[in-house]
């Protein structure tokens, strides 16, 4: 069984490679549609035409586009993410600073969304058929209409403007210095044994994580609720009842795992959207993650940064897709028939 699972994992990972290549080509192609000339942008405003031409040749912008792409891809594979036009620094370290922050935020948001979503879904299912369920349904539709950036603003207005209770900027209180380590603040704080750092990092994480989590929990609630609904209509649940099993055992021992299948799939898909949602939430909370970097780069038409970050976002989504597939395979033996 382990062998089949490993084989499936390998196959998924290998299948992701051509997708990654196509994605990078798409990214490259879109950005080359630019009406702006990146060469002109990276030189001082009073540069002569010859100087611009020199820069252009240096950046390789005079070559045909497919060749530019291949050069870029090769440098990427060597680990060189290019140099930011705006910051005049290599992109790699910029990414390394900001990526952990975004991932930490996304994971925290996933935890929030998971708890709210699964709890809500179970609750909605429990009160099904009553008026409470109708209210809950309407409520989840209403909640779904609030995108994450609006939640961010609402939470900021409530907790910072109205009540001044929670921090709404950055990852740590100004007083603290960042501990060395992985870049995942919560982890680093624990490893360093600094509880005060941990508390500060956690407090800063709460509002952004909830902004994202609140907006992504309603679909999870619905899918779990309808998943449970479908599962309970199945024959094997009826047969389990006819064997005399009590409702608790039926829920945990039979229904739960089957209802988790569509839920797990949705969680995987939602994570992609959630990860994209971090972009604006980071900006609104001045959270130093990839989102802030991307927005800066977009405003400055900083092509190398845009390309690198765009590719990183996709990499994460592809990785999450692969993980979701594997989880589904573990949950549902029928999928392993392939």
């Amino acid at each position: 069984m382990i062998a089949t699972l490993l084989r499936i994992v390998l196959r998924r990972l290998l299948a992701a490679v051509p997708i990654l290549v196509l994605v990078s080509m798409m990214l490259f192609g879109i950005l080359r549609l630019l009406p702006v000339d990146p060469a002109a942008m990276s030189v001082p405003p009073n540069a002569t035409r010859e100087e611009i031409e020199t820069v252009r040749r240096d950046m390789g912008l005079d070559r045909p586009i497919p060749e530019q792409y291949v050069r870029w891809a090769l440098t990427l594979l060597r680990g060189d993410f290019g140099t930011s036009i705006h910051y005049r620094k290599p992109v790699g370290p910029l990414l390394a600073e900001t990526l952990p922050a975004t991932i930490e935020l996304a994971l925290a948001a996933l935890v929030v969304a998971g708890f709210l979503g699964i709890g809500g879904g179970l609750g909605l299912f429990h009160v099904r058929g009553t008026w409470k369920a109708a209210v809950g349904d309407l409520g989840s539709t209403a909640l779904m209409s609030i995108p994450s950036f609006l939640w961010a603003i609402i939470l900021i207005l409530i907790f910072a403007v109205a009540f001044r209770a929670m921090p709404v900027a950055g990852r740590l209180d100004m007083a603290f210095a960042r501990p060395p380590g992985t870049g995942f603040l919560l982890l680093d704080a624990i490893l360093a044994g600094r509880l005060d750092l941990l508390a500060s990092a956690a407090k800063h994480l709460v509002l952004p994580a909830f902004a994202l989590g609140l907006s992504f929990s309603p679909p999870i609630m619905r899918v779990l609720r309808s998943g449970l609904h479908d599962v309970y209509a199945e024959d094997y649940i009826r047969q389990a009842r006819l064997r005399g099993l009590d409702e608790g055992r039926i829920l945990i021992g039979h229904a739960a795992r089957n209802a988790m299948l569509p839920t797990a799939t949705l969680l995987g898909v939602q994570f992609g959207f959630l990860f994209g949602g971090t972009l604006l939430v980071e900006v609104l909370f001045s959270f130093p993650g990839m989102g802030g970097l991307m927005v800066e780069a977009v405003r400055n038409t900083d092509l190398p940064v845009i390309q690198a970050i765009g590719l990183t976002y996709c990499l994460v989504v592809l990785a999450v897709n692969a993980v979701t597939d594997i989880v589904c395979l573990l949950l549902d033996p029928r999928l392993r028939a392939n």
């Binding site: 994605v23 630019l34 539709t141 609030i146 950036f149 403007v161 994209g276 765009g310 989504v317």
Partner: protein, 286 residues
């Protein structure tokens, strides 16, 4: 018959009313708005709404950092939101719908090709892709519409393809082919009527999403041109003065919420009404 049943649903009614409010505001903007949305009154900066202390009747909902009337900007912003919502969702529906039907109906390598394209496309988080597209296309409201179409067609395609596959399983589609209907005729006669309810729901939901995406792009500054009022721009502008003038932040937010909630309720209500009719009709026969 079906439309009447849909109308009876509370969600459709409330959603419809909310959408109608936005529609009226957008269409009648030149006559409804009390001021020119771009007119700056430097003597009346950051005024609160008329009912709050310090407010003026001339500016019912107050003014922003440049002295522009918030109410007028909201009303004109509805225009931008609607323009984007309607055009983008129709465009995404046509592009995604056609490809989804083609993939589901013909199957084989056509399906594989389209599905692979959708997979690649969906590897981008939508926000990131629309941002990248705006960088490539340049700022402007028509580019926003184009960007949203190019991002969201994949969702239409995937969902519709699944629906089409279900319909293709039905024997009446095979029967139509056996009777001599051509491919286009078969899709038009047998497949489309079955997928139409889902299409309508998706379009409504998509309109809500388009409003959100436009707002996100506006906040980042990659949406409409500089002198066009949009709700997202209003939010971006008012962030610095958030503590002194929270109303400037709250009001455009409410506008976005009303629009999105309206479209979502409408779409949800349509889905439930049309779904119920299908299952209800089938439950009739013994």
């Amino acid at each position: 018959m079906r439309a009447r049943a849909a109308w009876r649903s509370g969600r459709v009614r409330i959603g419809g009313i909310l959408v109608a409010i936005v529609l009226v505001a957008g269409i009648l903007a030149p006559w409804l708005a009390p001021h020119d949305p771009e007119a700056q009154d430097l003597l009346a900066l950051l005024l609160p709404p008329a009912w709050a202390p310090g407010g003026q009747a001339a500016f019912p909902l107050g003014t922003d950092t440049l002295g522009r009337c918030v109410l007028s900007r909201l009303i004109w912003g509805a225009r931008v939101a609607l323009y984007v919502a309607i055009l983008a969702s129709l465009g995404a529906m046509i592009l995604g719908g056609v490809l989804g039907h083609v993939a589901g109906y013909f199957g084989g390598w056509v399906d594989r090709l389209i599905s692979r394209a959708v997979d690649v496309w969906m590897s981008f988080p939508p926000v990131v892709l629309s941002l990248v597209l705006m960088v490539g296309l340049g700022v402007g409201i028509n580019n926003v519409v184009l960007a949203i179409i190019l991002v969201d067609w994949t969702r239409f395609c995937r969902v519709l393809r699944a629906d089409v596959l279900t319909v293709m399983n039905r024997d009446y589609v095979t029967a139509a082919r056996l009777a001599g209907f051509g491919h286009v005729q078969t899709i038009w006669r047998e497949v489309l009527p079955a997928t139409l309810p889902l299409l309508a729901t998706l379009v409504s939901l998509e309109m809500g999403m388009a409003v959100v995406v436009e707002a996100i792009l506006s906040v980042v500054g990659m949406s409409v041109e500089a002198n066009v009022p949009a709700w997202g721009v209003m939010i971006a502008d008012s962030r610095q003065a958030m503590y002194q003038a929270p109303w400037n932040l709250i009001l455009p937010m409410v506008a976005i919420l009303v629009a999105v909630l309206g479209f979502n309720l409408l779409g949800d209500g349509l889905r439930l009404a049309l779904d119920a009719r299908q299952s209800g009709a089938r439950a009739e026969a013994p």
